[in-house]
Amino acid sequence: MKELYFDSVVIGGGAAGMASALELDKAGLSTAILEREECLGGILGQCIHNGFGLIEFNEELSGPEFAEKVEERLAATGVRAFTGLTVMELQLASELKTLYCYSGQHGVLRINAKLVVLAMGCRERNRGNIRIPGDRPAGVYTAGLAQRLVNIEGYIPGKDVVIIGSGDIGLIMARRMSWVGCKVHAVVEILPYPSGLTRNIVQCLNDFDIPLYLSHLTTRIIGRKRVEGVEITPIESGAIMTEKAFVIPCDTVLLSVGLVPENELSKMAGVEINPMTNGPFADSMLMTNIPGVFACGNVLHVHDLVDYVVEEARRAGIYAASWLKGNSPKAEARVKTGANVRYTAPSRVDPDKNNKLYLRSLIVKNDAQLEVRINNRLVKSIKKTHIQPSEMLTVDLGPKELESVKDSPDPVVEIAIS
């Protein structure tokens, strides 16, 4: 078996993996990126729509352009990128981490590193995850799979489409399918409000007069060999109105029903997972419960903008390099999710530095108040003109605000929305 040694290894060559590797390299560490696909860039390669990079590059780019620009930065460094290489197993307990990998080019490889950054991204929830009853015909795809088929491989999966779930990928695909000549008959959302961004509702549905059924449950997929239709049932005051069910004929169903961080490898290796994010618990250095193992991007929690993924991944790279030099926080406080907050990432803060926390709201509200309390004492209050679960919020907490953390043996920083 071939054996290789690096200071740091990044698993995943998407936006997060590339951005963290750039920082590890900059800190002088020998660094490898391990990527399963044949090229770097991750999911960006199939996201051909516009709107990426406003924060990172100060211009509106499509996904492939964003990926290529980050790749160009990477090409100018000493980072070694392996593509077509799958990590099979992680052994993380000892000081030197060992990764067992396989690739068509190299065969079985043992790669050793002093630190590991997890950047495997996320995958789509599918029909099994949301348990849609009915037949099991051909023609049911996740939205992201359909996106890959249409945008890269050049296949159009059907002609008459119904999209289940109003997540952003589903909305983007509603426009994409319309632009390749398909008829999108409906987007069906179980919740009373859309899961995607308003601009996508307007530009991807309204532009094509695609009806959006809110508070509607998909109760059955119909079709023997090929999808023939979906049965939709309205929900009124929490009750499923069976007698009001109706069928929308179609030959293709796209599912846009959420994303799950891909942590099979991490779980196998003993990384502790936060049930609210399905990603690892991370401390103020974005380090997991295993020393020397860091996480960033969609494997940590699902982001809505790649620009935020890059920001977070860059921090993970900087923190990881700093950890290897022996730096770690003197005192940390755990972050508690208060009223109307689904989760925060990371879940610990360091009172001696500037911390950036990402969080998601559980509610839709105008003129909301985001409040941070330490041991029940208010230390920060931020006005938000509008919040909704589909838009990630950020909070900066610095040494000044967190000063009182040091006064107590087990300090709790609580973040709440009202």
Partner: protein, 132 residues
């Protein structure tokens, strides 16, 4: 009769009501800030969209690497927003393209489309390594 729009300038998404005044101007209400008025004017008087799609790749006579084999399409986009009513014409022109490799990101594939000043550009580089 008033028209309804949702402003997409920011995440709030104000519901705008717009009256068309006799001299061709618009009276906008429901907006929380001046950007709502600007959005309503653009969207009702001169709506534009960035068009992103894919074009076919001309693989004829090329011995390409195996890794390229599953890449059948190349992403392309307009380099600026194009008048909404002409979007289907842009799409038809894009779908008629057969893009030769190698190609560099940003290469103009359709210049100054119908005199609009808007170009269609390649949104990724492809096949450059094979050439090198």
């Amino acid at each position: 009769m008033s028209e309804e729009l949702i402003c997409i300038t920011c995440p709030i998404g104000c519901h705008l009501s717009i009256e068309r005044l006799p001299e061709g101007k618009l009276a906008v209400s429901g907006n929380r800030c001046p950007r709502g008025i600007k959005y309503a004017n653009e969207e009702l008087l001169n709506p534009k969209r960035v068009v992103s799609a894919t074009a076919a790749i001309d693989y004829s006579g090329i011995e390409h690497e195996e890794s390229l084999a599953e890449i059948a399409r190349i992403p392309v986009r307009t380099d600026a927003a194009y008048p909404k009513e002409g979007v289907n014409e842009v799409l038809a022109a894009i779908y008629a393209l057969k893009v030769k490799l190698p190609i560099k990101r940003g290469t103009i594939l359709l210049a100054d489309f119908k005199g609009s000043g808007v170009n269609v550009i390649a949104a990724r580089s492809l096949g450059l390594e094979a050439l090198a």
